[in-house]
Every structure is written in structure tokens, then in C-alpha cells.
Assembly symmetry: C2
Homo-oligomer: 333 residues x 2
DNA sequence: ACGAGTTATGTTAGCGCTAACAAATAGTGG
DNA sequence: CCACTATTTGTTAGCGCTAACATAACTCGT
């Protein structure tokens, strides 16, 4: 910076002023400074700036370290939103799914001096770890947590999973299905719990028994495994539709039903959740629930940067049902 | 740090020594310092440290900002490898796929003072932008670039896409197929170009005509569109197998063939590339090529941190074919 | 027990920047 | 044309840390 000041014939402070866009710099001076900067290829040292301002212009993202569609999409959206607002983004993922890992990851970000943290890890143990950590750092959690502590300084942003599940279930009910099984996601995940709850609510409202089949994780292999069992229930007339907690599980289901010689949607309807890029091309095309990830990203960042002092109610966004070929009226019995 | 020194009854320098694990600190002193740190909940200021050491312990990752399986998996792997080695990771993605965006993104990282950059954006225009930028920063590019400039200070790490394509094609040839169409990925992507080339090599070696069908992007929708056309060729006996540039395209193909009433693999064999989590559950299960992403991540990071001064030959990893139900011998004609 | 050789600790300076204040210059009304 | 205000520029200090050097405190061998 001293070099730039020398070339431009001003003091380093004036250079700083130009760089920060402060007023009270004559136009001619500003131009000379910018010229000198350009000529010398000068770049401001962010560490020194951070040291004196006590702000790093960096936000941390804590995410589950896997290829889950929802979290992954959210992270991308937050990153894009942050970049658009001139922030740097530091990403850290969970090594394992336990409270210890969550704290390690959180500390990793705090050590880095981030100005705020967006948590994209909709796991109960992560939010618990955060509650315990009680950091004095602006923090936004993207997770459909139903019981946000009242005085929690942390802000919540999420897509209403329960609403999505109700839309999916109501769609099936509307087609005439009564025996709708839910293949639920793994325990400990808010999204799984909320989708399960939404399904239960709709089933209860319709006066139907809610029979659940739990999948061990979010992947197609689990969906297939559960689907193999469900195929027998379908054949026995014990189920006419399945609502899967996500599209990967639905892939496994479709496959299992196909292997069992069952036709979707003639013998059994299937609904997923997430709307993958390729869900429209499954066999058959999958009816599913789409989430507004880009909006989640923007909202989360806005909450973090602008609403630092306004925890208040969580920001809830609404998903929408996408009806395709995997659902139809139940076979007249 | 001064506070800690006060509590421990030592100078701030001794605290610094303890923190950095330097020798020549008596055990008792070290313990007192650690105790004081713990008691005060002290955290070292990274900005100040970065200022004086001129190193940020942060590496930047430049990636395409989309949900592509390969890049996404690679980023996760690099992040995990970096964390394991105590580095912070700053991620930036391309706003658009043009040279300008690439430079903006690269500058964004440089401005941040990263110690090195890993580029996970296997696009020609990105490597060109990097060549032009000629930054004096350790840099590793994860891209199957066939013509790495000799004196390039940038290191390359990649999975041998050509080998994967040859394995896929040779598998089909071995089954007896002669008319094997390749559905190629979008132009401008190294992976697409290399897979195309590998397929051509194998076809040429077998003395077969290589008929290509270009997809506009990497997604299932394009695969479906191309597949609709290919279905007619298959019916006309002009093709007996299709090698898709990735699994998403393959999904679209499977769907198109299904709609056309063609059986896979009886009427036409299909091979993909990437081995998605769910590829084993497609209908039929997809024969595809699996890439060692975790190894790519580790190798890239090792190259960045350890081999700063040894550009040399690119680090090439090898993918492996996974044979499943979507391939079989051609129908005897 | 004394000095040479080690090892442990303290002192000083400065990394590059911005905040706060001081000085200089330009602008304005009487 | 001068006193006075508004604007522009310069000067100084210090953010929290580490490198380099200075000093103090221990070892030992003789």
C-alpha cells in the first residue's frame, strides 16, 4: 500500500480511503490512486484488514459431508448468495454424525474467525450441539426443527417438510388411496421426522391407519430393501400406495416393485421427495415434492447478514408437489 | 494472548511458543499456559497470525456451481483431505461458464489470500483462463486435460477418462457388439472429450465405425431426447449398444428405450459413466464406470501441499468398470 | 564452586491495514 | 481580501501475532 501511495504521490491513508470507497477524496486523486493500483497490480491484504476491523467478510458453512441432494443444493445456493453479496465462504463438513464431530467442525469455523455460520446439517444431534455450544456468533440453521427454543439466538430457515408430506399424502388420498405406507428416512434427521409427521397428520385427518416402514438411510439400497418387503404387502392388498421420504428411496422402491412384477402406478402408486434432475425420467416418471433451494440459500444469508439481532420466528418456505406418472387411482378391488 | 500470559505468569511469547508446539518450553510452564488458555477460553486470532506469517492455512477450491456428480464428489473429497491436514477450505463456484467468470472466481480466491488453489472445473475455458492468468500461486487442476503445457507450473490430477471409456467400449465389443453409439457430453468439458476419444480409440482398434450422438448437456433430459432418436436406429438395426457419457444421460436413454418398447439389454445394451449411488437400482441396473473420487481429493491436496515445486507429469488415477444388468450380448440377427 | 555450554524465557520490532485525530488546502460570505 | 467553515489529505497509533535477538536460568565437568 505504501508503494501505491508513493506512485500516486499521496499517503497510504488516502489509498485506503479510495479502496474503501470513502467520501472526501477528490476525483483526480482517486483516479491517480486507482491508476497506481492497476499499474502495480496491488491487492489489499485481507489478513491485515481483518486484524484491524475484526471482521473477515467470511461466512462459514457447516454441512453434512455427503452427496445428499437437499443439503448439497442448499450449500450451493448459500455459496452463490454469499458471493453475490461480496462474502467469502468457508465450508466444513462433518466427519461423522455425532455431537463431537459437530463441535469440532463448528470450532474449526470459529477458529477461522468467520463473521457468521450457516449450518446445513439437519440432524438433531447437530442442533443440540449448537445449543450447547452457545456461541456468540450470528448463526442460521437450515433445518426443519419443530421445537425451536424460544429464546434461541440462532435463526432457523427451512422448507416446510410437513407441508410437502401432506401435499404428497393428500394427493394420494385424493386419488382414492387409503392404505398408504410411508417409507421414512433415518432417525435423527429433521427432514425425515417432519415428513413422517406430515404423512401421519394427513392420514389421521382422513381417518386412515398409518403404517410406516423405516429405511435405515436415505439411499436407494434401503429403498430397495424395504420395497422388497412392501411388494408382498401390495400383492396381499395391504397397501396401494407408498410415499417415500426421498427420491433415492423411491428409486429403490420402483426397482423392487419392478422385480416383483408389480406395475406402478396400476398396482401401486409411488411418491418421492426432492425432485432430482432425473426424477422425471424414472420408469415411471416420479411424482415428487420440489423444494425451493435457491430461495433457502438467499433467505438464510439474508437472515444471517441483515437480521443479526432479530431471531424471532423461523423463516418457512413452502415446497410444491410435482405430479407425474408414478401415481394413479388404486385398482378397483 | 496477553491475558493468557498474565494468568500463566509468563510472557506472551511463551504462550505463542506453546501454541505453536515449539521446543524449549519446560513441561510445567506448558501446562500452566494450557490451563490459562482453557480457563480463559482463549482462541488465537488467525488474522494476526496470517498477517505475520504471510500464510493463511486456507486453500481455495474453484468449482462449477452445479450439482454435477463428479465435481461435487471431488470437492467433498478435497475438503475432507484438507480438513484432515489442518487446512481451511474456501469454496467458490463459477457464476457462468465463461472465461470472465473463471477469472472473477479465481481473483476472489486470490484476494482472500489462499495458500493454494484446487480447480475442480474440468472446462477448457477454465484451464485457458488459468493459463492466461499465470498466477504465482500453487495450483492443482483436477481435469483430464490431454495437452498439458510442458512448462506449466500448474499440476494436474485426474481420473483417466479415456481408459474408463475404453473399458466400457471394450466390454461391449467383448459381448459381440459392433454398432456402438456414444452419447457424448457437452463440448468444452474435458471429461466429455476424453470419454469420446477413448470410445473412438476402442472402436477404431476393433475396426468399427464410430457413430456419435451429441447431447447438449449432462442431464437426463438430453439423454432422453437423444435416446428417442436412437430408439429408431436401434429398431432399424443400426445400433445394438449405447455408451453414455454419464449416468444421468443413461437414465434418459433407459427411459426413451422403455417408451419405445425396446428391452435393455435384449434389444440394446447401455453403459453409463460415474456409478451414482442409485445406478445399481435403475431399471435395468446400470453397467457403468466408477471413479475413485476420494483418492482424487487426497492426491490433489498432496500435490498442492507437498509437491509445490514439482509440476512434472500429471497424476493419473484409473477408473473401473462395474458390470450390471444393462449390458448383454447383442440379439442374434 | 566457577565458567562454558545449554536450555528456557523475555523484550523489541514490525507484518499491512484502518480509526482517530491533526494539518493543510479549498471554498464562501461579508 | 480576510476570517471562517468545509473539504481533502497526512500523521500517529495499534489491532494480535511471530521472528529475531537478548537475557536469565539451568546443566555439568573439572
Amino acid at each position: 500500500m505504501a508503494d501505491v501511495a508513493g506512485v500516486a504521490g499521496v499517503s497510504h491513508q488516502t489509498v485506503s480511503r479510495v479502496l474503501n470507497g470513502l467520501p472526501n477524496v477528490r476525483e483526480g486523486t482517486r483516479e491517480r490512486v486507482l491508476e497506481a493500483i492497476d499499474q502495480l497490480g496491488y491487492r489489499r491484504n485481507r489478513a491485515a484488514r481483518a486484524l484491524v476491523t475484526a471482521r473477515t467478510s467470511t461466512i462459514g458453512i457447516l454441512t453434512v459431508g455427503s452427496e445428499f441432494f437437499g443439503p448439497q443444493s442448499t450449500v450451493l445456493a448459500v455459496e452463490a448468495a454469499a458471493r453475490a453479496r461480496g462474502y467469502f465462504v468457508s465450508v466444513t463438513s462433518l466427519e461423522r454424525y455425532d455431537a463431537d464431530s459437530a463441535l469440532v467442525a463448528l470450532n474449526h469455523l470459529v477458529d477461522q474467525g468467520v463473521d457468521g455460520v450457516v449450518v446445513v446439517a439437519p440432524l438433531e444431534l447437530v442442533t443440540e450441539a449448537i445449543d450447547d455450544a452457545a456461541l456468540s456468533l450470528p448463526m442460521v440453521v437450515v433445518a426443519a426443527r419443530p421445537d425451536v427454543p424460544a429464546a434461541d439466538p440462532v435463526q432457523y430457515v427451512f422448507v416446510d417438510q410437513r407441508s410437502g408430506a401432506r401435499q404428497a399424502t393428500d394427493h394420494l388420498l385424493g386419488l382414492g388411496h387409503r392404505r398408504i405406507v410411508h417409507v421414512s428416512g433415518p432417525v435423527g434427521w429433521f427432514d425425515a421426522a417432519e415428513r413422517l409427521r406430515g404423512w401421519r397428520e394427513s392420514m389421521a385427518a382422513a381417518g386412515c391407519d398409518a403404517v410406516e416402514a423405516a429405511a435405515g438411510d436415505w439411499f436407494a439400497a434401503s429403498g430397495f430393501e424395504v420395497g422388497t418387503r412392501l411388494a408382498r404387502q401390495v400383492s396381499a392388498g395391504e397397501a396401494t400406495a407408498v410415499f417415500a421420504a426421498n427420491d433415492y428411496l423411491a428409486i429403490g422402491l420402483l426397482r423392487a416393485f419392478w422385480e416383483a412384477g408389480l406395475s406402478v402406478p396400476d398396482d401401486v402408486s409411488v411418491v418421492g421427495f426432492d425432485d432430482l434432475q432425473s426424477s422425471a425420467f424414472f420408469i415411471p416418471a416420479l411424482t415428487t415434492v420440489r423444494q425451493p433451494f435457491a430461495e433457502v440459500g438467499r433467505t438464510a444469508l439474508a437472515a444471517l447478514l441483515d437480521g443479526a439481532d432479530a431471531p424471532g420466528a423461523p423463516h418457512v418456505l413452502t415446497p410444491s408437489l410435482v405430479v407425474r406418472g408414478s401415481t394413479g387411482a388404486p385398482r378397483a378391488s
